[in-house]
Symmetry: C5
């Protein structure tokens, strides 16, 4: 019997709800939040400087110089002080702060007076082969970009390298271009994840043909579920990018939009791939079920052929195993009609011949029905 | 055999229909309606006062002072007098009164001359683990908010506490903010219910792997049905909030709309969660059905292996249990060809050996077919 | 075996087609049409008068007095003369007359110069528990309402009573209000029918748990089909009411539209209920199919347990039923190796013990596999 | 075993493709095209005249008289000359000519300078009970209507009769009315076909209850497929009629549009009927599959009951068929414990009684499980 | 048992991703890219000239003469130099160059200042019967058309011949007409592929009726999957053509759009055909599964009939094979009641008669149940 397949636990994102009825806009500090780490990038075409900050005190004054662009990168969300500073010195709406700290928001873009707020969801495969789903929040000012993420790990190092190297538009495109570059990088990772799942589906399909056991079902369902959850990320991501394209925010120039259009096209492709993989999952499941049915048919055929051939023969053997007496032992009187076959010369041989004939007829019958194919 | 699972009765909301053909706008008093209880909250930034009223007589004069906001909270809907006063003194349309008393309306917003009318559906899990679905109706004037609910119990105490404590915007945001706060609180409860169902689905999935009996099917179907019914609440709720956002009613200022946008986002998330859970339900059911099919295959394999091995052997044993006579007892004449094997030395041993050989061949055959895996 | 369930015949509405290629607008008199009966209601706030007419001759002059409203109620559609008068004296388009007489139209509203034309479908459960689906056509003039229905029976008596009693707006709301009241009454009946089907589904669900036989499938399918057909009535009904709401016909004042909005909301609720019941039907069918699969599993388990235990034992008994001879009766020579067990003291007891051991081992095996649960 | 059902061959419309890369607008003459036959109808309110033409030569001059309307009816599409004349003398776009000759176009309306082009698909049931699907193309000038069809047979004779008889608007409504009348007549035939399929489905449903064999599946699938293909005709037909309604072509007056609206309503009804029949097909298939499952259950019950009762009994009989010796024949020594039951008075009777008891217990057990119902 | 079907490997298009985080607009040269080959067509109504180029150096000057149209055909995409020239001399956006080299784009149209960019996907069946899916990119200037394709093979030779021959509009319609002609030719090939799959489905359906083994399932699933993937090409292709129709690019004159409308209609037909074939696939799979179920029923019927008839008979034979002694051999005392039947005259004959009777009764029973049909 197939051994119980290794069960992959689906990490369902639990929603750390506010106490029902608490004030909206209340900054929520998750008890498991990581310690806040702040890094400030100050750059322009010619300059690149990076500094670690203890918190947001004094930040307000640091970022006033319009000759530079600033990227304030916040990792870990356990510092209430940071959010208070954002509210006081940068005039950020409290509802936004709540969205940043409650890290189960969908991708979206919101335009406010003086700044824009956006959310992306960063997916990456961690060391346990699970898909981690981390929220990255963006606050975009004219020449400052804030990013917030709950985890220390991420997949954004290539952007940091490009920023340091200063290749391409990354230092000259303004803060909106940096935001685009980060978002685009996140989207690029979706492709990697989908490629991995595509490979998994191919491997499952191979097993489906070679040795279909029930783990085929479990694993396909698991991938299908992952696909559904990534679909729920990609669709609003696409809408968000479309919102950026149609936005008339002064912080997002047309030049950036040209690039965002490109990212938008990638999202459409992602949806295509997700749908394709989902179709393949469904087709694998259907195939698996039909294989099970087919197997049942084969098992039943074996049983039916063996039983149908031998049960009648056993019956005949049983007949001639009966003990009807030819002669009454008590009286010695002959009892007519009682199994005279047993006392015929070669009766045994004839019986075996009859049995063989019956068996052959049945084999031919089943053969004709195509049961041996 | 699995014991019959405990059947959870689905409380289908019965529609207490008006006598067909009765006048529209007729206030309907349900015979099971609870006694009407009225509580009047009078508050502003500095003041908070609460009083229990016997009915609506004189209420009209109480609430004229524009320096205060008023919340008239009505629980229990058996007082026809209350509705007559509403119609006479507050000029409320009769069709609205009918909607308030026929408590199976969908969430909606309707704008009238001088006031707005809205409906929310409050869901909470009662002590029997059933989901109660209670209508809360809102009538919003400039500085007065009426709420009507059929039950005494509700999940709105946090709002009452905030109103009493006077924290946040609750006392200064005006009546529309209070209405928003109540609606938002109701929506927050949907999350709690969905989290519970999510846990239930996880538990079912555990059973699915450990010990799948038919209760898996029943319980999943039950949750799926609940999900469908909550979906029918959340979708119109979303539309209602969208209507509020796009409303140009003078009673709903832009400041309130900023918060309503937040509640709208929550609704979108709710729909996402409901859809996810529904997908998980469907996937559980599919898995369960495939497990049943697999089991059938295993059962049939056991039967087929045992039968296929022993039926032919039993036939052979039957052969040598036949009583063909070697010598005719009547005549003493030897009957040639009648089962000479029985009279061979070691015939029994050879027969057993042949049987063992047949059994071994079959075991190898089934092994090769992978039936023992 | 379950007895064949009583088969409910679905009365498919047959379309009495015009001879293909006949002129459009040709009034079609169904050979089975009932004899036309005309009743004229003449009323205003203070006056109420009812008269039976032989036909439409002279009707034109009767209804000119603008101080009264008139309701011309036509039951039975076999009088060609009536339709000719309509065409001649009231200037009704021939295509409308065809729609009135071909009683398989969908609900719709059409606005013409001087009058509006509308269709409702009246559903009610007749004495055979079948759902009758009858067309009611409305022609609305400023102060005259014509209604046409194919059957004598209907569910409109409450409206007639209200008109006679003169309560509410029915006499003062104008002809459009009367049309609304009739339509609303028809919609109210949909709720009654759905409540009945909801009860039926509950009863089926009870049977599903208590004693699921194949009638569960038939009855659920039958209700599902009814739901589909009522859905095809309710959706266009909703569109029709929406058309009325958005209509700028001078014959439908805003006051009436306020009420029509209410009926529109009812239609939305109807669609909700229909969808809910359909989901329940589908879930019942799924449940039934899984119950059948489960049963098959149980049947097979019984067979497999019994067969697996007794077939090997029977084989052993067969072995010791073989007649290998210990001594060649012809020669008297002892035949070594031939079934010495048979000639051991207590051989029988040992054999029985071995059999019992085998049986116990198998029972334990099946127990461990959970087949006895 | 059920006999193989008569297989109905689905005539899939093969697309006679142009050589890939050939010029667009190339008139394509199908090698199987019928010989072109041209008939010219010249009519007005008072006049009706019909003439057979050899081709299109000189046609241009014949149809200049604006006092008459002309209908040029072309059957069979093998004459390249006809299309060249259309292009030269009537200035018809080459792409239209290609659409006329490649007879697998969907219904559509295209407006050009000076004329309109429309396509209908004529469905009728031929003598082999197959559904023929023939393209009819219309070119509408102010006072001339061209029609083109690939086959000689059609269902348009009623229109020809009405044109000859001159009843109704057919002669006075202009060319656009004639086009409408032809289209409407084609649509009327869809109803006939659907009524036939509805009857077939009813007959299948009767068989489903009386004697469900596998032909139920085949026949329902066949009808379902037909429904799908007619749906693909009716949907674009509806769009075409809608395009006519919204068209501002000077050749289609409002008077004609009133009639087209009627045809449009018929299309909506057709879609309704198609969807209903499709639902019935699906429900029949589901029912059939559940009947098969039920049957399997019944078959297995019979097998299990018989096997479970007799296999243990046979085992007991086998026990007492064993040949354990009471006395060692070689030594004459009594062998204790060897089957003493065989040598008890009435041992046989007791054994039979025990067997009967076991059988009765099992029958009661199965009865209680409801397996005999 | 059915032999394992030949498994067709689905070539899933692998996405050669850029290093995540690399600059957007980076021209990507696939390591497997074919060597770039450039061919320049210079033509007008009277002139046709073709030259092979080494690269793009100097091309800029070659194509300035506005008296000619130019087609620059690029096959193989391994030359970075070509793309640099495009960027420098023709001012092509870098993002476009990335789209050309990453050959997994969906069909689309993008309008830029001075030129338009479009993508088609060319599908053709290669020698291994696989469907190749190759990207063709178009850059359209006023009088120059660039095309880029990854493979050397293609299906565009007919266009090249027409261009050489100068028939039709191909030389006089301008560059946009040439682009249309190429796109149209690509679409025409979709029809050929669909016709092939339609034939395959017909062949599968024949096997379904003649000899349904599991390859039916595999092959149908394979075609279904192909259909899904072609659908993903045709839908955006349709959108692209629609974009061209609605485009106000000065490079696409109305004359060309008339032809594009024709291609657009073809796309709609393609979608129709794809959907039809998909329905047929699904119907084939359903049919196959019902055939499997039916077979199982037949197999079980055979087993049940044989077992039910012979198991009871074998039991009876077993009874009379028991060795209850009539006389105690030790004491010689007669043992009353022990199998007196064995010592009756003709007992054997009566027993056989009883057995025959039981068998006949069962056969009649099964016959009545319809199991032999």
């Amino acid at each position: 019997m197939p051994k119980e397949p290794r069960r992959k636990h689906h990490k369902r994102k639990r929603y750390s709800l506010p106490e029902a009825g608490s004030s909206p806009g209340l900054v929520y500090i998750d008890p498991n939040a990581l310690k806040t780490v702040v890094r400030l990038y100050k750059y322009n075409a010619d300059h690149y400087e990076i500094s670690e900050l203890a918190g947001f005190e004094g930040l307000h004054e640091c970022v006033t110089d319009r000759n530079y662009n600033f990227w304030v990168e916040v990792k870990g969300l356990d510092s209430e002080a940071v959010f208070e500073e954002l509210n006081l010195n940068f005039n950020i709406n409290k509802l936004i702060l709540e969205d940043i700290t409650r890290t189960y928001q969908r991708p979206k873009l919101e335009e406010y007076e003086g700044y824009d707020f956006a959310i992306s969801r960063m997916l990456y495969i961690d060391e346990n082969e699970d898909v981690d789903n981390v929220q990255v929040s963006f606050i975009l000012f004219d020449h400052i970009l804030f990013t917030f993420q709950e985890s220390y790990e991420d997949c954004l190092d290539p952007i940091r390298s490009r920023l340091k190297a200063g290749k391409g538009n990354i230092r000259t495109g303004g803060s909106s271009y940096l935001m685009y570059a980060l978002m685009d990088n996140i989207i690029d990772h979706y492709f990697q994840i989908l490629n991995k799942w595509g490979d998994d589906l191919d491997a499952i399909e191979d097993r489906l043909f070679a040795n279909p056991d029930r783990s085929v079902m479990y694993d396909t369902q698991s991938i299908k579920r992952n696909l559904i959850s990534i679909r729920r990320v990609v669709w609003p991501e696409r809408d968000k990018l479309n919102d950026i394209l149609r936005s008339d925010s002064p912080r997002i120039p047309n030049q950036t939009k040209t690039y965002v259009k490109d990212a938008y096209d990638h999202c459409i492709q992602l949806i295509d791939i997700v749908d394709s993989l989902k179709e393949i999952s469904v087709s694998n499941i259907d195939m698996y079920l039909s294989i099970i049915s087919n197997r049942m048919n084969e098992i039943m055929k074996v049983l039916t052929i063996i039983s149908s051939i031998f049960i009648p023969l056993t019956f005949i053997a049983g007949i001639y195993g009966m003990n009807f007496a030819r002669v009454d032992p008590a009286t010695g009187k002959e009892l007519p009609g009682n199994m005279p076959e047993l006392y015929e010369a070669h009766g045994y041989v004839y019986t075996i011949a009859v049995m063989a004939f019956i068996a052959v007829v049945q084999v031919i019958y089943f053969w004709k029905k195509g049961w041996f194919k």
